[in-house]
């Protein structure tokens, strides 16, 4: 892989869910070391993009490519993509009763790293990450997401990413449902994922998380495609002027 090759290259991506086209030609390149944010209204297709990237079976790619590390991953199963270095922090992670957080984390770390981590070593690593994210020890024995509050679920999602160290972390509305203290802690967790070899794609409705996680690139999503891209300042402009401003600008440019 040359330095110039994007880590993720989405090309003319069209996606259907139950025969309804949701994504209508998305183009996006993300290079290692970058932080991107996708912003848009509810229902604009942002979450569909995140589910499609990680390979949800109900999201069917009808056209276009998703190149990850230079390879088209459209035919890959979610676990293959995960082992390839992609991870999604879910907006609404599901509960799995009877499966403890610690067993699950160990199994997924083993799957992603391709080898078992000695228990003691794993515990140390886990405890250190938990401390950073303010996750109490008792969570290890609890069942995954079972009875967790919204904020607890988000912290555990970030905890997972911190352990899995994906090359590309996709975060779907990770800021929703967090109070300001939790938002700061989670944002710090996200920033810790970032390094010159990795990239972050942040999907969000609100600008406020971007005060803590600063993207170099901001994309505006509307009706299943990216309608405007810019630098970090674009998010502030959106915050100040609203999404309508982008749409009006689009309409007027179409007219002119």
């Amino acid at each position: 892989m040359t330095a110039k090759q994007p880590l993720l290259s989405v090309q003319n991506l069209h996606v259907k869910v139950e025969d309804k086209e949701i994504l209508k030609g998305v183009d996006l390149n993300i290079y290692a070391g970058e932080v991107h944010a996708i912003m848009g209204r509810n229902g604009s297709g942002k979450s569909t993009l995140s589910y499609t990237l990680i390979g949800h079976p109900r999201y069917v790619v009808t056209e276009g490519k998703i190149l990850f590390k230079g390879v088209d991953i459209v035919e890959m199963t979610p676990d293959q993509r995960a082992r390839n270095g992609m991870a999604l922090a879910f907006q609404y992670p599901v509960a799995i009763p009877g499966v403890s957080v610690s067993n699950f984390l160990r199994a997924s770390v083993k799957a992603i790293r391709g080898k078992d981590v000695p228990v003691k070593e794993f515990r140390q690593e886990l405890k250190a990450q938990m401390k950073k994210l303010g996750v109490a020890d008792e969570f290890l024995g609890r069942y995954i997401n079972d009875g967790f509050s919204g904020g607890e679920k988000k912290r555990i999602e970030i905890l997972q990413l911190a352990l899995l160290k994906p090359a590309l972390a996709v975060l779907d509305e990770t800021d929703s449902g967090l109070d300001i203290d939790a938002l700061k802690i989670v944002s710090e967790g996200i920033n810790n994922l970032s390094n010159p070899e990795t990239a972050i794609l942040l999907i969000t409705h609100y600008q406020r998380i971007l005060n803590y996680v600063e993207p170099q690139f901001v994309h505006v999503f509307q009706d299943g495609r990216i309608v405007k891209s810019g630098g970090g300042e674009l998010s502030k402009e959106l915050e100040a002027r609203g999404y309508d401003w982008v749409l009006q600008e689009l309409t007027s440019s179409a007219v002119s």
Binding site: H56, D79, V94, I96, V99, S108, I112, L164
Partner: protein, 475 residues
């Protein structure tokens, strides 16, 4: 061990399970009954065991009952009707099992042993080609401890020889021969099983497992177990194991009787994983006296057809009963299992938790009874059945029966049937687990309320086994 030595033992000690020694030049010196079941065969069995007259009479009466009783018209009638009683050797495990050697054990079972990492010695034991785990020394000290506490732990045949008075008093009192066709059959031809007697106030710390016994007959075709817990005592008995148990016998029909005297506590754990040619028709019942507690922890993984409904008769005030069961039915399997709670005294409480999984066209049924007699005031019962279906062609049914003849009671019943959730699978797979691993994890979670009640090594094995079942690699 030479054939001569075995021959001597066989003749001199007929009650022990000579069949498990796995010698191969058989049939010259072993008694073998003809096919079918007759008075002569039952008499011969009793004679060869040198049993007292009353036991012979008991057997013969049971035989009469068995022959007269019609086949049950519920459960899985088609499969039940396909049992050919005329074509079964009732006292022939000797020749049948002795014909077995490691080479005869099906490849699928061997592979499963491999994947489970079962030690060589245990594999042969589980496959019925050797007598015991070769861990004699460890178990010897356990036996010494039990002896020092006055605990009796013998195979049933030895128990009858050495403690006839206790057995005569209790044998068949919890499950009479006439209870059902299969308890009658067992009463006529029983052999092996465990006899446990725990003295007053003695709490046995380690679970008793059948292979602690000397000359154990662990997995008989018609085993008979009787456990008596004297007041204030505690015992946990474990039978079976998670690894598949290969058997050429097509019919297994055990009877297990538990007697929990006031203030005692009996826990009976079973993991049944018979090979998939076996009919497993078992009667298990406990009598719980005042302030006692009885728990059946019952796991059914193997067999072609299992019909088993562990029961607890709560006959003393404040007695408590629990049945915690799981069933797994794969292709061509039907697990018809459940529980029965009979509240016959005030302030008795019971809990039934039943969890089942059907896969590849397998079928599970929960069949249960909660009965409350008049005057069993203040009784409480809670029943919870959860079934998980792995695909469209599998099946699960619930047949709960409630007979409540007292008003002052609290009865809860809850039943769910669900499918493995697409979102759960996707979530786990997005963390790198393969579909098989993810499915196994969800199922392990589903069974967790059961597995957490097992000794650790059993729980670990069970989880591994489920993982193997999910990857479709278990024969």
């Amino acid at each position: 061990m030479s054939a001569e030595l075995i021959q001597d033992q066989t003749i001199g000690n007929i009650g022990n399970d000579y069949s498990q020694y796995g010698f191969q030049d058989k049939e010259d010196y072993i008694f073998k009954s003809g096919r079918g079941l007759t008075k002569e065969i039952v008499t011969k069995i009793s004679e060869m065991k040198n049993e007292p007259e009353w036991m012979l009479k008991y057997r013969l009466r049971a035989l009469d009952i068995f022959l007269k009783k019609p086949m049950p018209r519920w459960g899985n009638c088609n499969l039940l009707d396909s049992i050919d009683f005329e074509n079964i050797f009732y006292f022939v495990r000797s020749s049948e099992k002795s014909a077995k050697n490691w080479d005869d054990v099906p490849e699928g079972i061997k592979q499963t042993f491999d994947r489970l990492g079962i030690p060589e010695a245990e594999r042969k034991f589980l496959a019925g080609v050797t007598a015991q785990y070769e861990s004699e020394v460890v178990y010897h000290s356990i036996r010494e401890d039990l002896l020092a506490q006055g605990v009796i732990f013998l195979d049933m045949d030895s128990g009858l020889r050495e403690h006839e008075d206790i057995i005569r008093k209790h044998f068949g009192t919890v499950i009479p021969a006439a209870d059902n066709k299969f308890s009658a059959l067992n009463s006529a031809v029983w052999s092996g099983g465990s006899f446990v007697w725990v003295p007053e106030g003695v709490k046995i710390e380690i679970p008793l497992q059948a292979y602690f016994r000397i000359n154990a007959e662990n997995m008989g075709q018609f085993e008979r177990t009787l456990i008596i817990a004297e007041p204030g005592s505690f015992v946990h008995y474990i039978e079976g194991c998670t690894a598949p148990t290969y058997s050429t016998d097509s019919l297994h029909s055990a009877v297990v009787e538990l007697i929990a005297l006031p203030g005692s506590h009996i826990r009976y754990t079973t993991i049944q994983n018979w090979s998939k040619n076996v009919y497993n028709l078992v009667t298990k019942r406990a009598v719980a006296h005042a302030d006692s507690k009885v728990e059946w922890v019952d796991g059914n993984l193997g067999s072609k057809l299992t019909m088993k409904y562990p029961s607890i008769h709560l006959v003393g005030p404040r007695a408590h009963g629990e049945v915690l069961s799981i069933a797994f039915a794969g292709e061509d399997q039907h697990q018809d299992a459940g529980a029965k709670m009979v509240h016959a005294a005030p302030d008795t409480t019971s809990l039934i938790i039943s969890k089942s999984i059907s896969k590849n066209g397998g079928r599970t049924s929960y069949r249960g009874l909660v009965k409350v007699y008049p005057n069993a005031t203040g009784s409480k019962s809670s029943v919870k059945c959860d079934a998980l279906l792995m695909d469209e062609k599998s099946r699960s049914d619930t047949y709960p029966t409630m007979e409540i003849d007292e008003k002052d009671v609290t009865i809860e019943h809850e039943a769910t049937v669900s499918k493995v959730g697409e979102e759960q699978l996707f979530y786990l797979m997005s963390r790198g687990l393969t579909q098989d691993e993810a499915t196994a994890m969800i199922i392990n979670g589903f069974f967790e309320p059961f597995t957490k009640e097992l000794p650790l090594e059993y729980a670990v094995e069970l989880n591994r086994l489920i993982q193997l079942e999910m990857s479709g690699s278990v024969g």
